[in-house]
Symmetry: C2
Subunit: 233 residues, 2 copies
């Protein structure tokens, strides 16, 4: 009987603490084509696993396909993220593979996951409907945040901060477009909106809120999680 690794329970529990109420973001690192490190803040969305395989968790977050991190991930599909919860003084570092799930209208769809990607290839085997999940997550995001995927190219130069006032300010939920403009914006936002899937293979959990500090390393080995107590630093 496969069970959820203890780090998933620990992470979920830590997130539920009132003192960690605003700790739903983490910093995700990638490497560019020149081997330069990059890192930026992501909003945590969900942890999910293939049906019947709680031992194969996947972290889900979201992005705009037009940002450099997406190119970096396509070229070098590995990541580490650091999730510091200052309320409880817990740090979770998660290392693993990372994949992008875009709109079916873009070119980069229908990837076949290699065998080492135990979780993602299991989802594929089970015909998991990523497009349905993408639409569900899209709709769970506020209408003004959704408008962020209707901007000109992220990172391109603007004349003034005020220029942003001319861009769409809200994008309605699916099925709730009131005008042609709403529909166009929705379509554009959906084209740019992508899921980011992180399949962890190693997790390093440091607890600085206890005395003495505790640090635990979880390593996935053939779908089983090995747990070791290690020296904190």
């Amino acid at each position: 009987m496969m069970t959820s690794p203890r780090w998933v329970d620990a992470l979920t529990q830590a997130l539920s603490f009132p003192e960690n109420e605003y700790e739903n973001t983490y910093q995700l690192a990638t490497v560019d084509a020149e081997s330069m490190p990059h890192v930026r803040t992501f909003m945590h969305r969900e942890i999910l696993h293939p049906d019947g395989f709680p031992n194969l968790p996947v972290l889900l977050t979201t992005t705009d396909v037009r940002t450099p991190k997406v190119t970096q991930i396509y070229c070098h599909p590995f990541t580490e993220l650091a999730w510091w919860m200052s309320g409880s003084q817990d740090q979770f570092r998660v290392f693993g593979s990372v994949r992008i799930v875009t709109s079916p209208r873009t070119l980069c769809q229908a990837e076949t996951y290699e065998e080492g990607l135990l979780a993602l290839s299991k989802f594929q085997e089970q015909d998991y409907d990523w497009e349905r999940k993408r639409l569900e997550i899209f709709d769970s995001i506020s209408s003004d945040r959704k408008a962020g995927w209707c901007t000109p190219l992220p990172g391109s130069v603007m004349h003034s901060y005020e220029d942003a006032k001319k861009w769409p300010q809200t994008v309605p939920r699916l099925g709730e477009a009131q005008s042609e403009e709403d529909k166009r914006n929705q379509e554009r936002a959906l084209d740019n909106f992508a899921l980011v899937l992180i399949e962890p293979t190693e997790v390093d959990w440091t607890q600085l809120g206890v005395n003495p500090w505790r640090r635990t390393r979880f390593t996935r080995n053939d779908g089983e999680w090995i747990e070791e107590i290690i020296v904190a630093s």
Copy 2:
């Protein structure tokens, strides 16, 4: 007349906001010998600059020389850090070169900084006393945190969390050792304690706490900072 880049003032001001009281940490990304990304939380210590050159700021943080990030930095001395201040909803991403300043007792001292490292080579030209700064920062850290540099090798496997109770629990301030054991622990901690110097060449500041969002890119060009308004994402 050289002036401090606007991002330093913005960062310093954001840090002074009461809502950012606990936001004195950031996530620093490095790349290992296999080009894999890594990231972990650091505590911000100081921003300093060479005498007369406020345009050449350096971020200072600290580490244990025995950790893998130090090896990663020696092999590939570039970094990006992401500093998310959830109180004011500001993100500062800082890309640049990174160097380690260890104890003079270790082998890795007396580095000559190449010309591209404008700030660090200027400090060197001015005979800046990094060892004095290292001791000053060491002493500014609490006695139980200092004991963290007297542990067995960080990341090595332990039998039980309780083992940590047998290790030194406090390391006194310099000049305040009461016993031979205190002195030994102080020496050991000082041998393992290192400064991390980040010389920024690009900074990306996103303000999500204003409407519309603002994003500004600062690029250092020959010691001058170019500022551009760019599209947020």
